[in-house]
């Protein structure tokens, strides 16, 4: 039987150091994915490095339109932050529809983004809000962060510390949840800031979260749901699984995008 050692880190530096000394170490954030996969023996870390008690990784600060969210902030805290709601209610709404209430109390934004599940909600917000991902080593632009399914620009041992962005003028997230898991079968985050428009799609792409250039161009030309009518979503880029085929997902992406634009106002 394999052994697992547990370490409670009290600072980001200590966590990184612990990871450096570990064999097959894993950071433990909310644990909503990691603990479940450990139970199924899909993950067997030699060391668990607990990030949950690092105070500097928690909390939301809003300065004018500038928002910074600690990576260790729970979905529940994002969902119920009045300060955030005042400048970017779309992100609060997204967080309030992740999983179920229990998961929202434990799961964290940093854990979700670092894990980069292709059906997770947050990655779409990171891309569409053009967030800067701050780690213990550097700052990574949203467009450089997501590489593929469960694959990010994070290097071994690198820890996400916070996310920062400037609040958009308008934004909304709409998803078609898998009825059982509530992960997105198609989730679309739209954001408009000045003349810039970003549209990020999660849950549907066969290579993880992505920006949809066609929809962005159409919405730059005219910010209205109907502007998307002529845009085509390529079913060939969509994933197919037991929950829905690629044609169905392509259809959902477009419907969710229109709903998101309508919701953003």
């Amino acid at each position: 039987m394999y052994e697992t050692n547990y370490h409670r880190a009290s600072s980001v530096d200590e966590a990184a150091q612990l990871m450096g000394n570990a064999g097959e170490g894993k950071y433990l954030a909310g644990g909503m994915t990691l603990i479940a996969t450990m139970k199924q023996r899909l993950a067997a870390p030699s060391d668990l490095i607990d990030l949950r008690h690092i105070g500097s990784m928690k909390g939301i600060t809003v300065n004018g339109r500038n928002v910074t969210i600690g990576a260790g902030t729970s979905h529940y805290d994002v969902a119920s932050s009045d300060a955030l709601k005042a400048v970017c209610p779309a992100l609060c709404s997204l967080a309030s529809h992740i999983g179920d209430p229990h998961v929202r109390h434990m799961g964290t934004i940093g854990g979700s983004v670092a894990n980069d599940d292709p059906a997770a909600d947050y990655p779409s917000a990171v891309l569409a809000l053009n967030m800067t991902v701050k780690t213990n080593k550097r700052e990574i632009a949203a467009d450089d962060f997501f590489v593929g399914m469960f694959e990010t620009a994070l290097e071994e041992g690198e820890i996400i510390v916070s996310f920062s962005f400037e609040a958009p003028d308008k934004a909304a997230y709409q998803k078609f949840p898998n009825p059982a898991s509530r992960y997105a079968m198609a989730g679309v985050f739209v954001a408009k800031k000045g003349s810039d428009v970003r549209v990020a799609v999660t849950g549907a792409g066969s290579n993880g979260v992505f920006r949809h250039q066609g929809m962005e161009a159409a919405l730059k030309a005219a910010w209205a749901p109907d502007a998307l009518a002529a845009v085509s979503v390529d079913a060939g880029m969509m994933m197919a699984d037991i929950h829905g085929n690629s044609d169905y997902r392509a259809n959902l992406v477009k419907v969710m995008a229109k709903r998101a634009v309508a919701a953003a106002g």
Partner: protein, 165 residues
Amino acid sequence: MSYSISLTVNGDQRRVELDDPRVTLLDLLRERLDLTGTKKGCDRGQCGACTVLVDGRRVNSCLSLAVTLDGADITTIEGLADGDTLHPVQAAFIEHDGFQCGYCTPGQIMSAVGLISEGHAGEDPERVREGMSGNLCRCAAYHGITEAVIDATRRMAETSERKSA
């Protein structure tokens, strides 16, 4: 390697030695602390039968490693009643037949207590149903569960108004 943690469980200080950090809070409660009211339904955080309050927030105890909770305050179904007097949520579940087989009931009740203290659902049935959506009831006693949560919310609000008056 062994880990020593201390928890407050239903108001009692408990010191626990863990020889494996992978022990979940659920297994700790059921197998070490003899608190079997918290149930194991799916053991992977998807059914809510193992709901407890950790520092006042409802979580799936099957997805919480006990070792990470050193110093935490845990409330389980066994810690809800005040002696022989049931908690208002417990009483409301009886009154509104909020169960059939009873297996999910401790989790439903703990989740309802958490939901009410979060204060976002109030007495709106739709928000209550949404707020209780982390807890499966295969007997589908949802009608009674929803009624019970709304009724308890109302009663608890009245009680706290009376207290503050």
